[in-house]
Symmetry: C2
Subunit: 517 residues, 2 copies
């Protein structure tokens, strides 16, 4: 144990923990080989920044492996370093790290890609093996030994409740005034499960702390590393066009009397496209907007600053460096406008349906019938994971998916005959948007859907080719016409020839051209 300065000791208001202070390296030794570890952290926010990295370091020289559960993705290179040193046996429910991704796709790491609302439910029901240890980032520890979380709640409260041992990682870079933005609620176990009584984004139903059994705390560690910043991009031509299509659509919904100018609470998926789309709402006729989402990104704070948004509920705050600095520097301006909840509450079907969420999520690709792939490249290789997109899309008031119509010099079409992997079925998708336009699928049968999607969403380079596919498919009949032996031909073409463009047709054109010459 090393001596601690006053700033640090002020963060421990429960005396029994004061003789449990360890360095990250010492604490990392408490993690047992083959154990199941649940860590705080949701989309880079509020993750373990000293103990888990120290464990990754330990794995450089020692043969240790854990099953690692988190809220969602972790920050910095923690997942990468763990993967590099073969320290992960199994990982769930989400990740977004290129190195870990490689290990997953090569078969070195088992990855369970879950709806973000599901992990806590399955743990609670003992449908997953018991968590041995929880590592939870805290702003401070209160006089009862309870944890005040940092920039995310994620699965932290559930890990802490279910684990045998807890390591608390106090992050002194965050102000103690963070206390009050969290609302921690764990429903009763079956068969006495209770109502989740949230009736608007502001409703509070839980506590401002994570209640734990102090006896389970085996170590307290300090860090002063801030969250790793989100990579955000300025809106570009595509995201601006997508945003405009959505705004125009929503304005029409308001004009038709289906929505008011405050719309209904918005959810926006993590990532550059979704963030840029939400930024587009700054210049919109809407007002008094609210969010009931899983993550608050830069766009949320832009909307607060623009006076467009009045309240936002989520499970984490994941923002760029400048937004983070502004948030911490002007925390009192935002504090009463936000609440962070456990991810099985932020993403609860019950609440999403009750509040009537407008859900905007990013697709990797979608098909002519409205099925969406959010996770896999080429049908086999994992990108990140489904995240909360399925939680929201399934129970939303409006389920919207967005992506560019094409990429890589228009060699890849993101509108395909059949998605190579299904994450969201046609049943759960209302609206599809690319920079080309918006397809409103509500109440449409599959044959109507394919027409509307091709008319509005596909890139012009692929339109003719898709029309040919549909024409040939429809000749064979059926509710959902397909040429099954060609359903993945675009993906195979991309794999074999570097383009989804119909090369046979292209070479035909060449042949015709040379004949003409």
């Amino acid at each position: 144990m090393k001596s601690q300065n006053n700033v640090q000791m002020d963060r421990i208001l429960f005396d029994n923990y004061k003789n449990k202070i360890y360095s990250p390296e010492e604490a990392a030794k408490f993690i047992k080989n083959n154990s199941i570890v649940g860590v705080s952290g949701f989309t880079k926010a509020g993750d373990s920044k000293s103990v888990l990295p120290a464990f990754a370091k330990r794995a450089e020289t020692e043969d240790v492996k854990i099953t690692l559960l988190s809220g969602a993705s972790l920050g910095y290179d923690t997942d990468a370093d763990l993967a590099k040193n073969n320290a992960i046996y199994k990982r769930m429910p989400f990740q977004a790290d290129p190195t870990l991704r490689k290990s997953i796709n090569s078969g070195n790491v088992l990855y369970v890609d879950q709806h973000l609302s599901e992990t806590a439910e399955m743990m609670h029901n003992e449908h997953l093996p018991k968590v041995d240890m929880a590592i939870i980032e805290a702003v401070y520890v209160d006089p009862n030994g309870y944890i005040i979380p940092t920039t995310s709640v994620g699965n932290s409260a559930n890990f802490a409740a279910l684990a045998d041992e807890i390591i608390i990682e106090i992050n002194v870079s965050l102000p103690v005034s963070f206390k009050g933005i969290h609302d921690v609620f764990i429903p009763n176990s079956y068969p006495n499960r209770n109502i989740i009584g949230i009736t608007n984004p502001q409703t509070r139903i839980g506590t401002e702390y994570i209640k734990i059994d102090p006896e389970k705390v085996i170590a307290v560690v300090f860090t002063n590393r801030p969250d790793s910043p989100a990579q955000i991009s300025a809106p570009d031509e595509n995201t601006t066009a997508i945003a405009q299509h959505i705004l125009k659509f929503l304005e029409k919904e308001v004009d038709d009397g289906r929505l008011t100018k405050s719309l209904l609470p918005i959810q926006v998926g993590i990532g550059k496209i979704a963030n840029a789309v939400l930024s587009g709402f700054v210049n919109s006729p809407f007002e008094n907007l609210t969010m009931y989402s899983e993550v608050l990104q830069d766009s949320t704070f832009e909307l607060f600053d623009a006076g467009k948004m009045v309240f936002a509920s989520a499970s984490s705050i994941t923002v760029s460096e400048s937004c983070y600095r502004n948030l911490i520097g002007n925390f009192e301006n935002y504090k009463d406008k936000i609440v962070l909840r456990p991810q099985n509450i932020s993403n609860a079907a019950e609440v999403i349906r009750r509040l009537g969420i407008i859900a905007i999520n990013t697709a990797i690709e979608f098909d002519i019938y409205g099925n969406v792939n959010s996770t896999h490249l080429g049908g086999t290789h994992m990108m990140n994971g489904i995240g909360g997109s399925g939680d929201f899309a399934r129970s939303a008031y409006l389920s919207i998916f967005v992506c560019p119509s094409a990429s890589k010099n228009n060699n890849i079409s993101h509108v395909v005959p059949m998605v190579s992997h299904h994450d969201h079925t046609e049943h759960d998708v209302d609206i599809l948007v690319t920079e080309q336009g918006l397809a409103d699928l509500r109440g449409l049968a599959p044959k109507e859907r394919s027409r509307v999607i091709i008319e509005n969403c596909i890139h012009p380079d692929f339109k003719e080719q898709m029309e040919a596919y549909v024409e040939e498919a429809q000749k064979r009949g059926g509710q959902t016409p397909h040429i099954m032996e060609k359903a993945f031909s675009w993906h195979l073409n991309l794999k074999n020839n570097g383009s989804m463009k119909n090369l046979v047709a292209a070479s035909d054109v060449h042949r015709e051209m040379s004949v003409a010459i």
Copy 2:
């Protein structure tokens, strides 16, 4: 207008309706060409048995077409006769009729296959065009002009609330003592949507009648036709084996302390397999069982009679002729054990998650990663529809899918490399069962899933062939290994050669055999 006997007039306790009595043929003339008609009826129960058939008859000689919304499938040949006479433009959210199916697959009828919970929600949100007319079967009309429904609630209350005009079809074959088994609740509109306060299958939150505006009633019609009976099959070798695997699994869950002997409320999908599986619970160690399902079948009443089940909530009662006779004849024995709710309440995600439903549904086929096809043959042709399977699977405590491992002299494997149509993704499937065995997928990564599914569920005739597929696929890497160009090869083989069996390999065997000889 024809004279009515006393039995009939006793069923109208609201005088204003007494001058609105019409014959079915007269009432059917009120249905306008190109209008949108919402009818009572859920899995053959409580459907229109005189007006809608009379409209089908009218279409024999007149060019009339409607968009037809129901609760779920209709009884007798109503859907068939409508389809035969080209009287349906668009149909939603479910059907199960061979003639209509043919019209759907040939492109004559547009079919919107919806989650059964969704139709009412979308109507209420005006995400579907307005319903012009509602045709609702009633046991009787109360002194306020309100409707006492019959053997189903389905979407009736929502149709009646939203339609401009209502036709009431009073079915005198049912006793007036049916009043009291219904619990009709319509949530408020957004943004004032309320909690659905059901905390156990017995909870009542609504009214015993469908409240309507009597001014909208344009006709009252009488019928005495009972519901068309469900086709049920005695348990066979396969369904018995499937039931045994499930019972053994649930007994283990009880032994491990995750469930009590009363389990949690059970949902069982419509159909012969699911019904036979539930019958298997008669000879089980479980007691005080409850159901929170969408339809009560013969097996529910067998479990009541065996003293195994104490309460069952659903949206309809669909039973065989003998079970129906017993139910009507001994109604007082069952009346306080059942409740029928609107299908957006029986199938509400909020309630399904809160009660912790054990959901057992039938698959057409499933794949080695746990994706399920519930609707399409060969990836293109509609069978019935997704029904409520997605409502329950998505939010259940345990999501179980069952089907035989093979059929048609074992030429069709119901365990395939990739399902030809995705209705339920791997994320929403916990347990798969065939007569071969049970695969427990909880907490497993895709590569583990494929191993467990092949070990436990696949028919021996297809095991080697599937192992070869997986081996080749895994060589290519990825989170979800597939040979994309062969993903549907089994289906294509079936289509082209009448069998999913690897004929090339078979001929190789022949060749090797002849060489050996």
